[in-house]
Structures are given as C-alpha cells and as structure tokens.
C-alpha cells in the first residue's frame, strides 16, 4: 500500500489542535495512529508540542506548602515503570472522561447523523490511505485535488476512522478506512453505495483488513456510503443496523 501525498505534504489539519490537547478522544487516537505511520508529521508534531510546552512555561504559581509531602509520599508508594512496552494509563478523571465520550459516540451513531465538515476550495492536505491499484491512482489523484472536493468523516467508528472525499463534479469519491476494530471471528466489513434508499455492494473487505480505501463512482449528492458487518465474503444485502454511514452532500 503506497501512501498518497499531495504536492504540499501530509495530513496536518489536526496536528495543531492535537498538541494543544484540543481534540476529543476519537480524533486524538486517529492523529496518534497517523503519527506512528508518518515520520514527517511526527517531526512536526514534536516541534509543535515543544512550542506548546513553551506556552506552558509562562504560568507559575507557588503550590501550597503541604503538597510537597503529599507528592513525595505518593511517589514512595508508587512502583516505577521500567518496561519499554508498558503504556501509561490515565486514572480517575481520565477514565471517567473516556466513558462519557464513548457514550456520546454511541448516541451519535444511533442518531444516524453524519459529521459534516466541508472545506472551501482545494483540499490543502489529506493523507489518503490508498490501496495502490495503479490503474486507480490518476482517478484518485483527480478526486483528491478537485476544486470541489469535500471531506466527510463518519461518526461512531470506535477508535477507527472512515472518511469520504467526494467531488460532486466528478460524481466520485475516495472512501478511506483506517484502524477499524476486528469485527469478530469469520466476519468482515462490507461497503455499500446507497442511492434512493437502495444499497449496492461496493465489496466486502478481505478478513483482517482494517486499513485501506476504495474508489466509488456514479455518486450523486444525497447518496450514502454505508458500512456493515457481514460474514466473510459478504452478503447480498446489508445486515442492519449499519456499522457506520455517511450521506454525501
């Protein structure tokens, strides 16, 4: 799978908000996933994180005197991490916030509304996770660089992400999926083009595939893209409720 890069570089739409801790948990996880894959963005994120930390250094205040002993005591009774593979866990408030965010995601998915996010003019940067089918590259590039191309992100996709970049003028979209959680033994995801309520299969993913993209054409505004969980090999019609859905505009 080759990564598609525009003339200007890589995805960075969220890196500023990311280093300012201004993203929600799902968006944050998506950025972190990208940073693991993209060295250029990782460097930029590190520089901007350092910059943000400079902002932090401007605020000083003397802590209450008793805090020092509380901290030293707490450390004495806390074991240290030495494993390089250990991941830090957020305790207390962090866990509460994740639980609330997860509940919100379930509610949004149930309402079948799509997160709409449109950009004026050209898409400056989007790091399309594209399956490298050579015969599609020029078509994909045409969509991504089309002046009327818009990005839409499907809500409620757990820690993964499903994105459609749609060009109404070309009646085509690049639908990218990334980090989809395993759907269960013997199951896979299947994509559908929904026009006037009628779904047409765009294909079922090979089992175990969690990242990639597909080119969809003959699309009109108000058509939808849906994703359902099906037995390996796919089904003739989608199993409802859909795993994710978005409506093109």
């Amino acid at each position: 799978m080759t990564a598609f890069t525009t003339r200007d570089g890589h995805v960075d739409l969220s890196i500023g908000a990311y280093v300012l801790d201004a993203l929600d948990d799902v968006e944050r996880a998506a950025v972190e996933r990208h940073l693991r894959e993209c060295a250029v963005c990782a460097v930029e994120a590190a520089e901007l994180a350092e910059t943000a930390a400079r902002l932090g250094a401007t605020e000083t205040a003397t802590p209450p005197a008793g805090l020092r002993e509380l901290v030293l005591d707490a450390a004495r009774s806390t074991p240290q991490r030495h494993s390089a593979t250990a991941t830090s866990r957020r305790r207390g408030p962090g866990l509460r916030r994740l639980a609330v965010a997860a509940a919100a995601i379930v509610l949004v998915a149930a309402s079948a509304g799509a997160t709409w996010w449109s950009q004026q003019g050209r898409i400056e940067r989007e790091h399309a996770r594209t399956v490298a089918a050579e015969q599609h590259n020029s078509q994909v590039r045409a969509i991504l660089t089309a002046p009327d191309a818009r990005i839409q992100v499907a809500p409620g996709v757990g820690t993964g992400r499903i994105t459609a970049i749609y060009s109404p003028g070309r009646r085509a979209a690049v639908v990218s999926y990334d980090g989809l959680e395993a759907p269960g033994a013997g199951m896979t995801y299947q994509f559908w083009h929904v026009a006037a309520g009628v779904p047409t299969s765009l294909g079922a993913l090979p089992t175990g595939r969690s990242t990639g993209s597909l080119l969809v054409d003959r699309l009109d505004a108000t058509d939808g893209i849906a994703v359902s969980v099906e037995p390996a090999g796919g089904s003739p019609s989608p199993t409802l409720p859909a795993y994710a859905a978005l409506t093109l505009k």
């Binding site: 739409l13 500023g16 908000a17 590190a46 520089e47 994180a49 605020e59």
Partner: protein
C-alpha cells in the same frame, strides 16, 4: 543567587531565575534520569525545581485550587512512575513534564464538565484576554519571549491557541465561542503554532 544542594560528592545547581535556561535543561534531564533509577532525593529536587511551573499551568487551566492540587500530585506521581521512559533525544525534560501536565489538566477540565449538569450554551468562565497579561513588563526572560511571539500572531491564531491551551477547550468549543468554522480553527491553531515555533526558535 545560586543554591548548591549536596548529596554526597554530587551537587546540583539551582540556576537563578532569569538566568540562561540551558544549564537548567541539562539539570532537569539529569534529575529525571536519576528519578527513573528510583532516586527519591532527586525526585524531591525535581519537585522543588518545577512544581511552580506545573502547578501554575494546571491552576491556569483548571481554575480551581483544589483540583489544581490533585492534578499536580497526579502529574508528579506520573513523572515518578514513568521517568525511566523519558528520552532526552526526543525533547527537554521540562517539555516532557509540561506536556504531561497540560494533558492531565485538560483531562480534569473535561471530566468536570462532563460530570456537571450545565447548560451547554452558557459561556465557559472567561479567561482574561492574554494581551492583558502581556502588558506585564517584568518577568522571566522565557516568559517575555513567549509573550512577544504571541503578539506576532494574528488575532484569530492567538485566540484559538490561547483559548484551547490556557482555557482547556476543545477546538469545537473554540469554534463555537469565536463563531469560526471548524476547519478554520484547526488551520489557525496549526499555523499559529508554526509561527510561534519559528519565533521561539524551536527546532529538532
């Protein structure tokens, strides 16, 4: 006035406020390295050196002393717990600590907001405009530099960044508060940070 702290044959210099930050960078990195090896005397020294910055940042973000105390304690315990994983090649120890501090402070703001029944449309308690703070003439050299560089941003860049960073708000909340589209907020945050980065001379 320099203060020398002795521990056996080793001494750790506490640089005067306003002094060239470079020796302190090395000092903090050494302290964190030693903390990673379980040295609780170094941990106490580290606390003494950075607690005002950590508590100050947390207090600015959470705006409540009780929460700020708790979060500051959590941060230092996390520093103690994960010090062995600090990699000086990836950035300074103060960046590492302040990044952790900011993250936890924002986590606390979000969980308090989630736990409190509150009208979403009610404005969040407003921060004083950062410019007001910037009129302070005195201050640590580093602080003056940051204020100077913030003044070099456009209003939207500065507002989005300070609302998010010091106010603990999500970019959606910032977009709503400033009545600016979501993608614009994200772009301004990024290009504002890039301008700050270049003004402050942050490179890797």
């Amino acid at each position: 006035m320099d203060r020398w702290t002795r521990r056996g044959a080793l001494a750790v210099a506490t640089p005067a406020p306003g002094a060239d930050p470079t020796p302190e960078t090395e000092t903090l990195a050494v302290l964190v390295r030693d903390v990673g090896r379980g040295d609780d005397a170094r941990f106490a020294q580290l606390y003494d050196l950075v607690s005002a910055r950590v508590y100050g940042l947390v207090l600015r973000v959470v705006r409540d002393r009780a929460h700020a105390e708790e979060v500051t304690q959590e941060i230092f315990v996390e520093v103690w717990r994960t010090a062995s994983r600090f990699d000086p090649a990836r950035g300074s120890a103060s960046t590492w600590i302040l990044t952790m501090a900011h993250r936890r402070a924002v986590d606390r703001v979000r969980s308090v907001q989630a736990a409190t029944v509150r009208d979403r449309r009610a404005p969040l308690q407003e921060q004083p405009a950062y410019d007001a703070v910037a009129e302070e003439v005195t201050g640590h050299l580093e602080q003056q530099q940051v204020r100077h560089c913030l003044r070099g941003l456009t209003d939207v860049q500065r507002e989005t960044i300070t609302m998010a960073y010091y106010g603990g708000r999500t970019y959606r909340q910032v977009a709503e508060a400033l009545d600016v589209p979501l993608p614009t907020v994200k772009t301004r945050m990024r290009d504002g940070l890039i301008r700050l980065r270049d003004c402050l001379g942050v490179t890797r």
